[in-house]
Subunit: 606 residues, 2 copies
Amino acid sequence: MVEEVRRLLLGRRLRSVEAQDQRLTKTRALGAFGLDALSSVAYGPNEILYVLILAGAVGTRFSLPIALAIAALLAIVVTSYRQTLFAYPNGGGSYTVARENLGTKAGLLAAAALMVDYLATVAVSVTAGVEALIALAPGLDAYRVPLDVGCIVAIMLVNLRGVREAGAFFVLPTYVFLGSMALLMGWGLLRLVTGDLPHLHARPLPATEGVTLFLLLRAFAGGCTAMTGVEAIANGVPLFEDPEPRNAARTLTTLAVLLGALVLGVTVLGNAIGAVPSERAGLIAQIGHAVAGGGPLFWLVQLSTALVLLLAANTPFNGFPLLAAIMAQDWYLPRQFVHRGLRLSYYNGILVIGTLAIGLVVVFGGSTHALIPLYAVGVFLCFTLSQAGMVRHWLRVREPRWRIKLAINGLGALVTGLVTAIVVIVKFPEGAWLIALIVPALVVLFARIHRYYQQAGQEVRVWRIRPPEMQRCVHTVLVPIADLNRPAVESLVYACSISERVTAVHICLSDEEKARFRSQWAAWGTDVPLVEIHSPYRLIVEPLLDYIDERNRQEPGELLTVVLPELVPMHWWENALHNQIALRMKLALFTRPGTVVTSVPYHLQC
Amino acid sequence: MVEEVRRLLLGRRLRSVEAQDQRLTKTRALGAFGLDALSSVAYGPNEILYVLILAGAVGTRFSLPIALAIAALLAIVVTSYRQTLFAYPNGGGSYTVARENLGTKAGLLAAAALMVDYLATVAVSVTAGVEALIALAPGLDAYRVPLDVGCIVAIMLVNLRGVREAGAFFVLPTYVFLGSMALLMGWGLLRLVTGDLPHLHARPLPATEGVTLFLLLRAFAGGCTAMTGVEAIANGVPLFEDPEPRNAARTLTTLAVLLGALVLGVTVLGNAIGAVPSERAGLIAQIGHAVAGGGPLFWLVQLSTALVLLLAANTPFNGFPLLAAIMAQDWYLPRQFVHRGLRLSYYNGILVIGTLAIGLVVVFGGSTHALIPLYAVGVFLCFTLSQAGMVRHWLRVREPRWRIKLAINGLGALVTGLVTAIVVIVKFPEGAWLIALIVPALVVLFARIHRYYQQAGQEVRVWRIRPPEMQRCVHTVLVPIADLNRPAVESLVYACSISERVTAVHICLSDEEKARFRSQWAAWGTDVPLVEIHSPYRLIVEPLLDYIDERNRQEPGELLTVVLPELVPMHWWENALHNQIALRMKLALFTRPGTVVTSVPYHLQC
């Protein structure tokens, strides 16, 4: 029955050879890989406003300059990344580039940053998506966290089934979103030019802070979250149609232009209508209200925003498990991450990121604004490591025109490094400290796991061991018996069949009980020696362990096998009616070196 | 370390021979066994008032007649019980008397009723005790449930240590309580006679119901809870000084007189001061306020009330585990209840009643009034079964003057049976339905458990089996191997040492992996045959099970042993870095008949 539910939820099992991939046109690739980047426009410009509003009307005047700075940063990063595509046509994720060029430690750092980034992407995208829905139906605000959790669970299930990211389901919404946003921007700019655009908030907001450099940097750091997701194409180069790097580069440029235009458009219109940041209606929702008056276009924009955000939350469910599998393959994470499930999905990775994301969303009460400070650090750390890796790459390769390429990646590394530092510092009290703790901790964990596997592997390696049939060992068998019943007899029979040296052990709980057992044993008439252990404190497992210790002391070289009679009832709940001493003994013996444990099951038929 | 904490909390271990008992004088016995009965005056009269107040001032006039009816009932029950003491000097609990005279089913019914009664005693006594404290410090009301739970946990711990009920700690508080209550009653009656007693509630309460027979019966049923605990002496006869039955009977009579006087005194004074029932200040607390003006006597009464109630909550922690042990000895409950812990306490019974009581208190929000309807049914069912058993006893024994004795017990059975019916009917909607469900369900459960043990016992009984050394069986050993490492080699060596017929089994997850393993195996050079199983869906346990099924089909008589190499890391958390396939295999094989499982542990040293 469990199997049937699994099949219904997760689909039929897939053979290993069914793992394959399909090539993508530029249009499909933009839809599939652009999701994450484009959807960040739903929270990036919002975050700029959250900070600037603290300085009142004067502060909000700086939103356009900051948006322009972010667009410039985007141009630098994308130019820099284009070179990665050509240099790493087989996929140039930060982990690969950093590890190959900067060494293992940088690779682990990139991996840790990426993992944190993936996790934050899920949490931020889902909460932002749900917030886009709340803007449509404010009554949903009360169910924010359950909705977030429900979405994550649904995404987990879909991914456990296995999902092809390039399907129409992923490509179409991106274009609907782009189309509806273009309409909204166009109409809004038209109304702005004609002076017809309504102002939402008449009263100027009181300023609680002055316009300082720190305030502007905080606004900039918040806005940088709009850039999350632009690295997705670099990971996916091999999935493009031939010529892969060229097609990928063109798609990346298109993506950057579209994203830049969206960020600037939203900022300009948001300024024009005098929007204020809110958890119940984001910037886009306020623009939709002002421009389209809450009509059909507003609904279309909100629904497609919510959809692309939720689909963007899906991306890490591919990226994280794959990264975890690669790391586990390299022995930096538990090997369990390498296994693929019946549907070929890396189920352990999916379960881990899903569970962590649910925890994060619950702890932060489903607030995108609260989660944002956890976000940008990982992203920009990855950018920096990737670009810095490219710098080393050019120094090593020195192909034609390597100096220019070096300069471009060098600029990229410098700028993204600077932004990383800014983000860590200005967002530190709001949550970046958590990332500053977790990322190094992860690196240490990876290294520890690696060392453990190395040592354990060393230890279990076989060298110069004769074949097993050459190494007969003499061993002794102990059979603990509480009562002379069929399970006990079967265990004794089994024990006698594997060794000449069998001893039955009886733990005596009282004198009467001892006499009763002894007479039973005598009546049975066997040559197997019986050892009686008196247990004044009514313990059963401990006296047996003491006896084994004593034997080990007396005959150190002896290989001891404990044969345990085990009663298996027909129904699991009937186990409550048995004392499970065999189980307790197995647990106790498991941690003792050199004792083999054999379970001889006796299956009850009643 | 766990062991040290256990010793600190629970004390040193005790030998089985240290189990002993000590005899009690009448005075000590009244203190020890009277706790439960006397403390019920803290909630019994309260419950009468809770119902009568619904009919306003007119209703409360009936409280004295009802209290008199309860006193009369008490007289009948105690007269009836005195005869049990003489007939069963070795302890005449309801279970014993009912089982011996009315048969197994009645005995099980009595046992079920007793268990429910024990559980309700804990819950009601603890909540009432905490309420007595709340009357002193109303601020504690907010911590009602945590306080209740804390008290139950403390009582559990004390009982796990093992406790001698007759110690001064149990005897003294009863007399302090009796003394302070006597002072309060005397002073109160004096002030009442001199017309000096203040009236608490000037305004007459509005009546929401008329004075009907049903209302009076409900008030009576509530008041009957004042009689809980009078059967305690019947269980404890063997602990009295010689002549046991006579001393026990005198103590019982004294107890009944004191309890009757308390119930009547509280009712009269409660009426006189115009008390209204409340969860924050019980009847005794209101009398204390009115009579002693919240002074030292008030505090003494409340503190001693709280103390006797909490000590009364301790009684079931002796009674329940003992009853469970007797039932388990007779195979009506899981055998685990028979075991005595290191401190000679029946720890399983203590843990079960404590946990259930905590659950009950939490579900009912720590309200005594809400818990009361669960209480009286079990008590009166026990009374009835016990008296009815005595009727059969006299019919069977026919000793001198048996007719009079028969008449007395017959009257007792009739009256208590009638009260049981009344309580079930009038308290049905308030919670008695739960007891009406649980008690029969428990009887069915006992019978089922008994049948299971009988069948299982039949099945494992040994008859006409030759000694083990005579029954050599041929068996085959399978060794599943993932990798040719040391644990695998040690398992193979072990397998070869117990059988001539060893087969290594390798689950192939991919063609590359298969080729790699095959070359490893060939390089090793062993004569052990290798079976390769292709697993296209990447499963490991299931293909092995399928292979075993197949072998079983081909050679039905063959005894199969699966030898599992198991890696045991130094620290438990390192288990997270291993895939636990051996564990999963053990679990899967455990439920298959006829397969022996052997774990060959390999202990890592790193």
